[in-house]
Amino acid sequence: MSLILDLASTLSLTIGAIFVIIGGIGLIRLPDFFTRLHGASVGETLGAWLVVLGLLLQSGWSSVSIKLILIFILLVITGPTATHALAKSALHGGLKPKHLDQD
């Protein structure tokens, strides 16, 4: 049982770290603010959730796991909300997507 938990935790932490790095690369390489928003939200949702899930599988049943569940719920609620607020604020502030006016 412990081996299965370790295996699942390792897989989750590794994939989460890979997603965080992919989000960072997207933040650097993509051409436009809105596409960068898309790239950053990859690392901010799936990467962060998988890292917290991997830690949660290691923590067992204790107060530590309750804190991790609270962090997980907070990340689930606030990450997409902040991304949505950024997109709305940028659109409201006059930023246009890059290729929209060229068609």
Partner: protein
């Protein structure tokens, strides 16, 4: 598991460095706010992972508080730059007659 925690911490630090580059280089204001938000989320993650790596999961309290402050800070900065005022109502919901 120590090796996996170290590997995850290194991956998160690489992501933080990339976000920091975007924050310093960002052409627009919103790029910088996005980079700060992404950096804050990764800070929460690295506090949690380092707590497990050093065998002191008490760091999770700090991570929890940091996640709250990061969200509130991002929303406050966005609202300030959108309306030039932190207490103004959105014109989307209260259209002037």
């Amino acid at each position: 598991m120590t090796a996996i925690y170290t590997l995850t911490a290194v991956g998160i630090i690489v992501g933080m460095a990339l976000a920091l580059y975007r924050g310093l280089d960002g052409p627009t204001l919103y790029d910088r706010i996005l980079a700060v938000n992404a950096f804050g989320t990764k800070t929460v993650l690295i506090i949690a992972v380092l707590g497990f790596l050093m065998g002191r999961p008490d760091f999770l309290d700090i991570a929890l508080v940091y996640a709250l402050i990061n969200f509130i800070g991002t929303i406050a900065v966005l609202k300030f730059f959108e309306y030039q005022d932190l207490a103004k109502q959105s014109s989307l919901y209260h259209k002037p007659k």
